[in-house]
C-alpha cells in the first residue's frame, strides 16, 4: 500500500492561490473590491456598537504621473469601536475562518474580504498595511504589518502607541489598481451606499482631490439584528455533521490542569479517597461542569484517585459492548473494564460519548423548534426521539438532513436576525437623493426561502429632479449596492415584466426604483455576488412590493394628470378666447370687443370631453 503525502496549506496561501474567486482578478476589480471590503467592515463595526457611522474613504496615487494601472494608497477611517490592540495583529495579519459564524444579517459574510485586500496589496506592491486603532478613547495604537503567507501569521514591522481622543479604526494599504477604469463604479458604490445607509455620513476623496460628501440624513439607526440559531430548512448534511461534532463532547484529557479544575469545582482542600470524592460530587452534581462530571464518572468505574488518573490514558468508551478501555503508562499495557449500565454514572458517560438525544438536539440547536414539534418530526422522519446523535451513521445523517428539509410543520424562520432599513429612513433617503415629485416605500413582512428568512423593502420615486431618461433600478442586498451583472438579476426581471402602461407610466419616465433584500443568506447567482437568483418565494415578495408601489404611483399619476389637464385647459382658453374675440370684432365690423371673460372661466371648468 503506497503512502500518499498530503501537504497542508495555510488559509492565506489558499486565498493567495484563489484570489480571483474573491474579486481580485485584475487591478480595476481589485481596487473596487478593496474599497467595498473596507467600507463594509467599517459600517458593520459601527452597526454592531450602535454608533452612527462616520466614514472617510480616500484613494491617492503613489505617483500621480504614472499611467494606470499603478500603485494607490487606499485608506478607510471610521468612528467605530476600534479593535483591542492585542487582537489587531491577528485580525489583520492572518486569514481567519469563521470570525462571523452566527446566523444574522451582515454585509460581509466571514470578514475575510478585508484580509484579502491586505493580501492583494502586499502581493502587488510589497508594501505593509497600516492599522490605527483606538478602542478606549485614550490610546491610539499604530501597527505596520506584513502577512507571512506560508505560515498565516502577521509580521509586525512597527508598533507604537500615542494618545488618542476618539474611538475608531483607520486601515491603509498600498495596492495596484486602475482608478481610470474603476472610478465610476467606486463613485456609484459610494453614492448608492449612502442612499441605503442614510444614518451614515460618508466622504470620499478621489485621486484628483475631489471630495464627494454624503451627509447623514437620519439620526436613528435601524434595529440591530440578533444572532439566532439556524432554521431546520436551511440545513444540509455537512452543517449537521459540524453541529454534531460541536455538540459531541470529548472525553477530556486528564492532566494537572484538569485535575485542578475538578478540585476547584468540588472545593477539595485535602486529598480524599475516590469514594469520598464521589460522595462530594454527588452532592454538588447539578453545579459542576460537564467535563468534571465525565472525569468523576471515569473515576467511579476505574475506582482510582487523582494520582492514578495521571498515569493512564482513556482510549475508548464502547457503549455497545459496555466496556471502557485504557492504557496504563506504568504497566505499559491496555486494560478493559466493564461498565455497569445500572450505575448512575453510566448515563453520563453514554451521553458524553454519543451526544444528546435527537429530541434534545433539535430543541437546543434549532430556532423555533419545541418538544412537541421535535417529537412530531421524529415520528415523521422515523427516528426514535431518544436516538443519540453521536451514534448516527452516515446514512442516518443523510436521512435526517433530508427529513429536516421535507418536514412542513416547522414554524417559519425567525426574522429577528434581519435588519431591514425601515420605511422611514428609506423614504428620507430617497427624498434627499432624488427630490422627487412623488415617492412611496414599502417594507414587506418577513418571508423565507429554504429556511432562510428574508425581507424585501422597496421604494419608488417619480419626477422632480429625476431626469426623464427612463426607469432606473437601484439594487441592494443586506445594505450593499449591487452594481454589476444587472441584466440577470431577479429584481430587474420583475421590473421588466411589469406592464408600466397599466400604471400610467409611458415612454422614458423619470422613475427610480430602490430595492433592498435582507436575508441571512442572499441567493446570489454567482460567486461575484452581484446578481440575485430568481427564487419563487423571493420573486413573489418583490412582485407584491412593486405592484403595491406601482398602484400608489398610478393614483398619483391620475391625480397629477387631472390637475395637469385642468391647468392646460385653463391656459388654452385664456390664450385662445381673447384671440377669437379680436378676430370676430374686426370681422363683424364692431369697435368694442365682446365680453368673453365668462367663457374663459367656463372653458377651464369643462370636464374632459371624450
Amino acid at each position: 500500500m503506497s503512502k500518499e503525502t498530503f501537504s497542508q496549506i495555510s488559509p492565506s496561501e489558499f486565498f493567495y492561490r484563489n484570489r480571483d474567486l474573491a474579486g481580485f482578478s485584475n487591478p480595476t476589480r481589485s481596487l473596487y473590491t478593496s474599497v467595498r471590503e473596507f467600507v463594509e467592515n467599517a459600517l458593520d463595526a459601527c452597526d454592531q456598537k450602535k454608533i452612527l457611522p462616520d466614514i472617510h474613504l480616500s484613494i491617492k496615487a503613489v505617483d500621480a504621473e504614472k499611467p494606470d494601472p499603478k500603485h494607490y494608497i487606499l485608506s478607510v477611517k471610521d468612528n467605530g469601536p476600534g479593535i483591542d490592540p492585542e487582537h489587531i495583529p491577528l485580525a489583520f495579519g492572518t486569514v481567519l475562518y469563521g470570525s462571523k459564524f452566527g446566523l444574522k444579517q451582515a454585509r460581509g459574510m466571514f470578514g475575510l474580504g478585508a484580509t484579502m485586500a491586505i493580501l492583494y496589496g502586499q502581493i502587488t506592491t510589497n508594501k505593509p498595511v497600516t492599522v490605527k486603532s483606538c478602542s478606549d478613547g485614550k490610546t491610539l495604537d499604530e501597527f505596520v504589518m506584513l502577512l507571512d503567507i506560508q505560515k498565516n501569521k502577521p509580521v509586525i514591522l512597527k508598533h507604537n502607541t500615542k494618545e488618542g481622543s476618539k474611538t475608531g479604526l483607520t486601515v491603509s494599504i498600498v495596492l495596484e489598481g486602475d482608478y481610470s477604469k474603476a472610478g465610476s463604479k467606486i463613485r456609484d458604490y459610494v453614492y448608492q451606499t449612502s442612499l441605503i445607509t442614510p444614518y451614515a455620513s460618508i466622504t470620499f476623496e478621489d485621486p484628483s482631490g475631489e471630495k464627494f460628501h454624503y451627509p447623514r440624513i437620519v439620526k436613528e439607526m435601524p434595529r440591530p439584528p440578533t444572532v439566532i440559531k439556524p432554521h431546520p430548512h436551511g440545513i444540509d448534511v455537512e452543517t449537521i455533521r459540524r453541529m454534531i461534532t460541536d455538540t459531541h463532547y470529548q472525553i477530556p484529557t486528564i492532566d494537572n490542569k484538569m485535575i485542578d479544575k475538578v478540585k476547584k469545582e468540588l472545593a477539595l482542600k485535602k486529598n480524599l479517597t475516590p469514594k469520598e470524592i464521589l460522595e462530594r460530587a454527588q452532592k454538588r452534581w447539578s453545579d459542576i461542569s460537564r467535563p468534571v462530571r465525565t472525569v468523576i464518572s471515569v473515576m467511579s468505574f476505574l475506582n482510582i484517585d487523582f494520582e492514578g488518573l495521571k498515569k493512564i490514558r482513556i482510549d475508548d468508551i464502547d457503549i455497545a459492548n459496555k466496556t471502557i478501555t485504557y492504557w496504563d503508562f506504568g504497566e505499559s499495557q491496555t486494560h478493559a473494564v466493564d461498565l455497569d449500565p445500572e450505575s448512575p454514572y453510566y448515563k453520563q458517560l453514554a451521553s458524553t460519548v454519543q451526544g444528546d438525544t435527537l429530541l434534545t438536539f433539535l430543541t437546543k440547536r434549532f430556532q423555533r423548534v419545541g418538544p412537541t414539534t421535535a417529537e412530531k418530526f421524529c415520528e415523521f422522519a422515523k427516528f426514535k426521539p431518544d436516538k443519540r446523535i453521536g451514534s448516527m451513521t452516515n446514512e442516518e445523517l443523510v436521512k435526517l438532513a433530508d427529513a429536516l428539509q421535507k418536514f412542513e410543520e416547522f414554524l417559519a424562520p425567525d426574522p429577528s436576525c434581519l435588519a431591514p432599513l425601515g420605511e422611514e429612513p428609506l423614504s428620507k433617503g430617497i427624498m434627499k437623493f432624488f427630490n422627487p415629485e412623488f415617492a412611496a416605500v414599502w417594507q414587506r413582512n418577513a418571508s423565507a426561502y429554504s429556511g432562510f428568512p428574508f425581507i424585501v423593502e422597496m421604494g419608488i420615486a417619480y419626477g422632480g429632479d429625476i431626469p426623464p431618461n427612463g426607469l432606473k433600478v437601484y439594487r441592494f442586498a443586506n445594505r450593499i449596492p449591487l452594481l454589476y451583472d444587472e441584466g440577470s438579476d431577479v429584481v430587474l426581471k420583475i421590473v421588466n415584466e411589469t406592464e408600466w402602461a397599466r400604471y400610467k407610466i409611458k415612454g422614458e419616465p423619470p422613475l427610480v426604483i430602490v430595492s433592498h433584500i435582507c436575508s441571512t443568506r442572499i441567493p446570489y447567482k454567482t460567486v461575484g455576488k452581484e446578481n440575485v437568483a430568481d427564487r419563487p418565494e423571493l420573486e413573489r415578495e418583490l412582485k407584491n412590493a412593486l405592484q403595491y408601489l406601482a398602484r400608489k404611483l398610478a393614483v398619483h399619476m391620475s391625480r397629477q394628470g387631472a390637475a395637469d389637464m385642468a391647468k392646460k385647459r385653463a391656459n388654452l382658453y385664456s390664450k385662445y378666447v381673447p384671440l377669437i374675440a379680436q378676430f370676430a370684432t374686426e370681422l363683424a365690423g364692431k369697435k368694442k370687443e365682446p365680453n368673453y371673460n365668462q367663457l374663459i372661466r367656463m372653458g377651464s371648468e369643462i370636464e374632459e370631453q371624450v
Binding site: Y573, I580, A584, P594, N595
Partner: protein
C-alpha cells in the same frame, strides 16, 4: 369679336361683395356667441371620402350633406377653431384691402398673430376648411399657390387690383405668355377674337405653339397648365368658356396622368369637391389618346408599376365608366406603354401643330 356675356357670369365685384358679406356674417355670429357666453362654432361640410359624391347633373364631384361642427368648447378643437377664425379675419383684410397672398405666405403671416401652425400642410388644410365654410375657392380669398401657369393669345382684360383698376391689357403682346396670377385671376375679361382655347400640359410645347403661331392659325388662346392645372387656371378656363363662350380643348401626354389632367379640367378633382366654378364640363380632351399611339405610330416607353396602378384606381372612378374615357384606359392597360407629347418630334418639330392638331380638332367635332 366676341363680347363678354355679362348676364351669365358674376363679375369680380359681385363675387367680392358676396364674400365680404359671408365673412361679416361669420364674424357677427362669433361676436354674438362670445358676448352671450356661448362657445362659438363653425359648421364645416365634411370632406371625408364618404361624403364626396359625383353629381352627374352638374358633371363634377360635390360634397354630400354631411357636415362637422368645429366648436371652441371642445378643447381638442379649440386651436384649430381659432386658426379658422384667424383665417377668416385675415382673408377679410386681404379682400378688403385688395392684397394678395400665397399658401406659404399665409403660413408665415399667422405667426404675427400668435396663431401657431405646426407646418404649412396644417395651414393649407385650414384654408380648405374656410373654402368649405364659405363655399368659395381660395383664389377669391386672394390666396394663390406658388406654382403658376401661363396664358397667351388675343384676350383683352381689365384689371381690378388696386392701382390698376380700369387698366386694360392684351395677352398677345408678350411671347412668353402671362402668368395666371392674382391680378389676372381677378381681372374682368373684356373681349377676344379667339374662337378656341387650347390647354396644353407642358411649358415647352406652349412655347412651340406660340412660335408656330397656333394662336393665329387656329384663332386660339393657349394656356399652359404646367402639369395638373392649378385652380386659378381651371377657373380662368371656366370663365373663358362661360363668359366668353369659347370651347376648350386639352392636349396632354399620352398616358394615364395626361388623361386625368383633362378629366380634372372637365369635371374637377375630389380634393376640390367643396367648390364649384372650377370645372369646364364641355371641355374636350383632344389627346394624346392611347389609340393615337398606334394610329400615329408614336415612339413609346413602357409604363411603370405606379402607372398601371393608377389605371386600376381610375377604373373605379364613376367618370371613367363609359365612352371614350373608359375605352382609352383599357387601351392604355393593354399597351402597357405610354407616349409623351414630344413624341411627335420624331416626325419633325412642327408635326404636332401641322398634322396632329388639325386632325384631332377635326375629329373632335364628332365627339
Amino acid at each position: 369679336m366676341r363680347l363678354k356675356n355679362k348676364s351669365s357670369a358674376k363679375t369680380a365685384e359681385t363675387r367680392k361683395k358676396r364674400l365680404l358679406s359671408l365673412l361679416e356674417q361669420q364674424g357677427l355670429n362669433i361676436y354674438e356667441s362670445l358676448d352671450k357666453g356661448r362657445f362659438p362654432q363653425f359648421v364645416i361640410p365634411s370632406r371625408s371620402v364618404s361624403n364626396i359624391v359625383y353629381d352627374k347633373k352638374i358633371r363634377q364631384y360635390i360634397l354630400g350633406s354631411a357636415s362637422a361642427v368645429r366648436s371652441s368648447r371642445n378643447m381638442s378643437q379649440l386651436r384649430s377653431y381659432t386658426q379658422l377664425a384667424w383665417l377668416a379675419f385675415f382673408v377679410n383684410r386681404l379682400v378688403r384691402e385688395g392684397k394678395s397672398s400665397t399658401l406659404r405666405d399665409i403660413y408665415y403671416s399667422s405667426q404675427a398673430f400668435s396663431i401657431d401652425f405646426e407646418d404649412q400642410p396644417e395651414s393649407d388644410n385650414i384654408i380648405v376648411d374656410l373654402e368649405a365654410v364659405l363655399t368659395s375657392p381660395r383664389e377669391e380669398f386672394h390666396i394663390f399657390p406658388e406654382e403658376r401657369s401661363s396664358v397667351f393669345g388675343d384676350l383683352t382684360i381689365e384689371y381690378t387690383v388696386p392701382g390698376y383698376e380700369g387698366k386694360r391689357m392684351n395677352l398677345s403682346d408678350h411671347p412668353d405668355g402671362y402668368l395666371i396670377g392674382p391680378s389676372l385671376s381677378s381681372a374682368e375679361l373684356v373681349d377676344t377674337s379667339a374662337e378656341l382655347v387650347i390647354a396644353i400640359e407642358k411649358g415647352g410645347l406652349f412655347t412651340r405653339f406660340v412660335e408656330e403661331k397656333v394662336h393665329k392659325k387656329f384663332k386660339a388662346i393657349i394656356v399652359d397648365t404646367a402639369g395638373q392645372a392649378p385652380r386659378s387656371t381651371r377657373n380662368l378656363l371656366r370663365r373663358l368658356n362661360n363668359e366668353m363662350g369659347l370651347p376648350v380643348v386639352i392636349l396632354a401626354d399620352g398616358d394615364v396622368y395626361g388623361e386625368h389632367i383633362a378629366m380634372v379640367i372637365k369635371s374637377g378633382s375630389a380634393n376640390a369637391a367643396h367648390l364649384r366654378e372650377l370645372t369646364v364640363p364641355d371641355a374636350k380632351w383632344l389627346g394624346v389618346w392611347a389609340t393615337d399611339i398606334e394610329k400615329y405610330k408614336l415612339p413609346t416607353i413602357p409604363m411603370t408599376e405606379s402607372d398601371i396602378k393608377r389605371i386600376y384606381d381610375l377604373q373605379k372612378d364613376p367618370r371613367y365608366q363609359e365612352g371614350n374615357w373608359k375605352k382609352q384606359l383599357e387601351v392604355f392597360l393593354k399597351l402597357k406603354r405610354k407616349a409623351e407629347l414630344e413624341a411627335f418630334s420624331k416626325y419633325g418639330l412642327t408635326n404636332i401643330t401641322d398634322k396632329y392638331l388639325p386632325a384631332k380638332l377635326e375629329e373632335s367635332k364628332s365627339f
